[in-house]
């Protein structure tokens, strides 16, 4: 008996429109084939018998107001047409997603409440892209998020199963260095200007080889993949040169490389550069990197002192360190994939397995 009831309900759905009520009280109707995309609507119709008339409209979740509902309808109407190519759909999505960021969030939230997976994917992907590659401060600023973590939590290292005290020391040193550098900057009271310059490969290479000591930030965020390519090439050069940080002569080169790395890389994390053991130093933000660290701002004497301190620890760490593999840099080769993303790969003379 229940089977025939279901059959009747299904037939009802096939025939008519489904009536819904948006969060702001507006009664709307949608074609049944669109309604099929929404699990909760189907449930309401089949099991509770609502939605088949204006007076018994299904109440949509609170995230779905009339404007949002209308957008969602458009989206569903486009995509439900079977004949469209993937390229068409992608193109539609690209245009569809262009909206005020508030609305975009509202749409994501609504799609989530309606369990409309493809739209959740599309909106979340787009929202992720607004954060991608950005430094902490900028994220907080543009998304209006509170800076409510404690210093401790921000610097929180990974829980090492070994819980190496050397690592903790290095972290503390990092924090100390960062603080000191910040003070230096504040004292000098210099405006840190962000130069958005795209350095050509030759520029960067000549810089490393002792060219122009004035260090300038490269553009970040834009064409992320291209930038990454530059970054990687630079750092491979850098690291090859600085293995022996005991050597006084290389110190000049060391600081230049440090400068290059810090300027070429985006605000991302870590590590006292060129020290193999600091790769274990955990993903904490680089000293002063968030504020736009620039090489020639720092008192060279102070800097040298700090570098020495860090080298000291690194040396000690190195001698105790178990399990570190040979850190010599293999020459890294870069090429672009067909679609423009870069990949680095180790230069093997035979390229395939």
């Amino acid at each position: 008996m229940s089977e025939s009831y279901l059959a009747i309900m299904k037939r009802e759905m096939m025939r008519s429109f489904i009536w819904v009520k948006t969060a702001d009280g507006s009664i709307q109707r949608m074609e049944q084939e669109i309604a099929m995309f929404f699990p909760m609507i189907c449930e309401e119709v089949i099991y509770k018998g609502v939605g088949t008339s204006k007076n018994h409209a299904i109440s949509l979740p609170q995230q779905v107001n009339q404007a949002i509902f209308s957008l969602i309808l458009d989206y569903c109407r486009f995509h439900k047409v079977p004949g469209r190519s993937n390229k068409e759909r992608k193109s539609y999505d690209q245009k569809f997603i262009r909206m005020d960021s508030n609305m975009l969030r509202g749409l994501a939230s609504a799609a989530d409440s309606l369990q409309l997976k493809p739209l959740v994917d599309l909106t979340c992907r787009t929202l992720a892209r607004t954060i991608e590659g950005k430094p902490l401060e900028e994220i907080r600023e543009i998304l209006n998020l509170p800076d409510d973590l404690t210093e401790e939590e921000k610097l929180e290292p990974l829980k090492n199963t070994m819980d190496d005290p050397g690592i903790r020391l290095l972290n503390r040193l990092n924090a100390k260095k960062r603080k000191e550098l910040k003070e230096r900057e504040r004292l000098k009271n210099v405006e840190v200007e962000e130069h958005v310059v795209e350095r050509s490969l030759d520029d960067l290479i000549s810089f490393i080889n002792g060219g122009d000591p004035k260090v300038v930030k490269t553009s970040k965020g834009k064409k992320k993949n291209k930038k990454k390519k530059d970054k990687k090439i630079v750092s491979s050069h850098g690291k090859e040169g600085a293995e022996d940080f005991h050597d006084k002569e290389s110190h000049g080169l060391h600081s230049k490389q440090q400068g290059v790395e810090e300027t070429v890389s985006s605000m991302r994390a870590v590590e006292i550069p060129n020290l193999p053991s600091t790769e274990d130093d955990i993903f904490t933000p680089k000293a002063g990197s968030e504020d736009g660290y620039i090489d020639d701002e720092i008192d060279p004497v102070m800097k040298e002192m700090l570098d020495r301190e860090v080298e000291d620890f690194a040396r000690r760490l190195n001698s105790n360190w178990v399990g570190s593999r040979g850190q010599e840099r293999r020459p890294v080769r870069f090429s672009m994939n067909g679609n423009g993303t870069t990949r680095r790969h180790i230069d093997l003379s035979s390229g395939h397995s």
Partner: protein, 320 residues
């Protein structure tokens, strides 16, 4: 009161919000949604940046649900050790619930072992261009992953014998991707991979063998051994001559076939054919291969997130 219309209302311009319309700001998004957004940044950015932004994000980033799928394809400048540690940390955060992991450009056998030991429920393992990973490491890991359904081992070393062992260890394998650099000349032929697959992976539905050296015989073996095949990617398999009866058989049995000379626009790796006859000296960074995209093209491809290879799934299937 009721504003029903006979035809649906056109979409309003984004700024035409009614009074009282309220959209959540970032801090008010439900945690699952925040999680869904942040997850797309990839494991590295989540650890390095996202979890340090604010308290609520930190909470979201620590939740095991964030770590059921780990995507580590988007490396920065640090060394392999750094990323290994990061990966291990990510695996720890999954608390045994890891389902999918994707690793490019770094990784070792010991990392694989770590993953396999802590995540016996793993369904998908993808490694690409991981030069430290060996066949032995893969065999060892596969032995601990009986529920594995998807395996990618692209541009890594994996012997044909090892492939057989893996096939036997993972009876649920439905997707295999084993891609390498395509050789046009010399016409080095080898059906070992194809035969290994045909022998040990009867449940395969999706197979991608970009650049493989198999011949018609190997293809026939695969068609025999893998009756459930739905997607077959043979791009840059230049020893296969997809014509006549073979072509017919292939197209009858397999729903989607990518032929040897098909377009590589949606292939996520470098598709440069290794043409031994051409010289590429004086090109230390491989930049002559660079396809400098115009601005528009870049963003178009960017939308597809590393150019998802559509040969094995249709993102719009939901609608059919």
């Amino acid at each position: 009161m009721a504003s029903s219309s006979s035809s649906p209302s056109p979409s309003p311009s984004p700024t035409a919000m009614k009074e009282g319309d309220y959209y959540p700001n970032w801090a008010e998004l439900p945690p699952e949604l925040t999680s869904s957004i942040l997850h797309r940044l990839g494991a590295i950015e989540i650890v390095e940046t996202a979890r340090r932004v604010c308290r609520s994000w930190r909470r979201v980033c620590k939740d095991p649900s964030m770590w059921r799928k780990i995507d580590m394809r988007n490396l920065g400048d640090h060394g392999d050790m750094y990323y290994e540690k990061l990966c291990r940390h990510a695996v720890d955060l999954s608390q045994g619930e890891l389902v999918e992991i994707d690793i490019w450009h770094f990784g070792s056998d010991s990392l694989l072992s770590y993953v396999a030991d802590s995540s016996s429920n793993l369904r998908s393992l993808k490694v690409a261009q991981c030069h430290e990973i060996t066949s032995e490491g893969l065999i060892e890991a596969a032995a601990k992953l009986p529920f594995l359904e998807e395996l990618e081992v692209s541009y890594c070393s994996l012997s044909e014998e090892s492939l057989k062992v893996i096939g036997q260890s993972c009876p649920n394998l439905k997707t295999l991707k084993k891609n390498c650099v395509g050789y046009r000349r010399p016409r080095d032929e080898c059906d070992d991979v194809a035969l290994a697959i045909a022998e040990t992976m009867p449940g395969l539905r999706h197979l991608q063998l970009f650049g493989d050296r198999l011949t018609d015989a190997g293809l026939n073996a695969i068609l025999d051994g893998c009756p459930n095949l739905e997607h077959l990617d043979l791009r840059q398999c230049f020893n296969v001559d997809l014509v006549g009866d073979l072509e017919k058989r292939c197209l009858e049995r397999v729903r989607v076939v990518r032929r040897p000379n098909d377009s590589v626009h949606d292939y996520p790796f470098d598709a440069t054919v290794n043409d031994v006859s051409s010289s590429d000296d004086g090109d230390p960074y491989g930049l002559s291969d660079v396809d400098i995209l115009s601005e528009d093209e870049f963003y178009y491809d960017d939308l597809s997130e590393y150019a998802s290879d559509n040969s094995d799934f249709d993102p719009y299937e939901y609608y059919y």
